[in-house]
Symmetry: C3
Subunit: 159 residues, 3 copies
């Protein structure tokens, strides 16, 4: 009997293109029967935000961060050639033309494939993000849980 293969990705980046790369690798690995975890930390948490405005009690700093960070995958910028937001529009138009799957659908697909999407509780705390603001069906954990997944993994990436 073959051992269970594992892929564990830390998604630190809040860029649309980097998150896309993470989710494409993750969905691919799941299709090849890997057990896959994406651990969202720092700006990567934005990919897990719901796109509507959720009212929660926050301090002023946390409120400012919350306003300035993109609300959900669809609003994230590009790591290169962002052109004040024009770049993502161009990329999305091209993706549509080539029938590539946009990030929000890649995230849905990940959930359907039972990829474990984890939000890093320590950085949620720092950036003032609350569970109500994030997608349903995700998990919450810290660095210890990440290490437990990663140390048995075949593929470990920091994106």
């Amino acid at each position: 009997m073959e051992e269970q293969k594992k892929t564990t990705i830390v998604l630190f980046s809040g860029d649309y293109d980097k998150a896309m790369a993470a989710y494409i690798i993750a969905n691919g690995a799941a299709a090849y029967d890997h057990e896959v975890t994406i651990f969202h930390t720092f700006w990567g948490l934005n990919a897990l935000r719901k796109d509507e405005n959720i009212t929660v009690k926050k301090g002023i700093m946390e409120r400012v961060f919350g306003k300035m960070m993109p609300r959900g995958a669809d609003k994230m910028g590009l790591s290169k050639m962002n052109f004040a937001g024009l770049g993502p529009k161009m990329i999305k138009d091209i993706m549509k033309k080539h029938n590539a799957i946009p990030l929000p659908q890649l995230i849905e697909m990940a959930l359907e494939q039972d990829i474990k999407l984890v939000a890093c509780t320590m950085t949620m705390d720092l950036l003032g993000l609350k569970e109500q603001e994030l997608l349903d069906n995700i998990e919450y954990a810290g660095v210890a849980a990440y290490l437990a997944d990663a140390e048995k993994g075949n593929i470990n990436l920091f994106i």
Copy 2:
């Protein structure tokens, strides 16, 4: 008999300094008898572009992307202190002074050491890059081929 060691790098970044780091690690690993693959995706594809202008049929968006992205390793910018293109010039002058190997030569060296340079076909399609525009002697593949290489690897990096 010892098992074949493997290093697999995803080069996502289009920055000169990050690509240099990727190619230095890759060439080092090959020198220590690793089987090495660099999988170029998104902006990392620019490292594989030929530096001359190749005429190919493209849509308008793809043409715009093609114009705006650096044509080949030598034209890539820095991830930090780019100073509108002055940074790379400074780094290259310093590299020359210290006899460090510039990126285009690191890429040649990689090919001589039989490092497998792969262009991600999905992002070539998105960014409108054609095989004629990329270096000779490279391979073309998708995420499935990447995973097959990476899952048996000792060192897996996303750069």
Copy 3:
């Protein structure tokens, strides 16, 4: 008897938030009995700089780089929402409020946990950084030493 677990991180980035992520993972892994190495290369070397001004003989280019790069972990900027230096101040205020450990203390903690902090000699040379300018109790090595650590590792990350 269980095999010694290993975590090896390349810290390429000179961003406060990315370095924080690297050191949080590293300190976590050390707490779970991993043998941990952080290999600082390119801008990541700035995390190892002493914060006082050390007088050393340098060429002009190296002097310019030295002036422009942050002197030590506490002066590093953010990868996102840096706002000309306001972002790091905000993050540090929030970290204080939430009793999170600032980067300079995470680095001290790493040394206390016997995490091997390595400065990449090749990029020290390029950026004109001298041993006197860097923290005490660190090691100096090149890509060969990195590969020797990484190829036996459970967790390999490029940050």
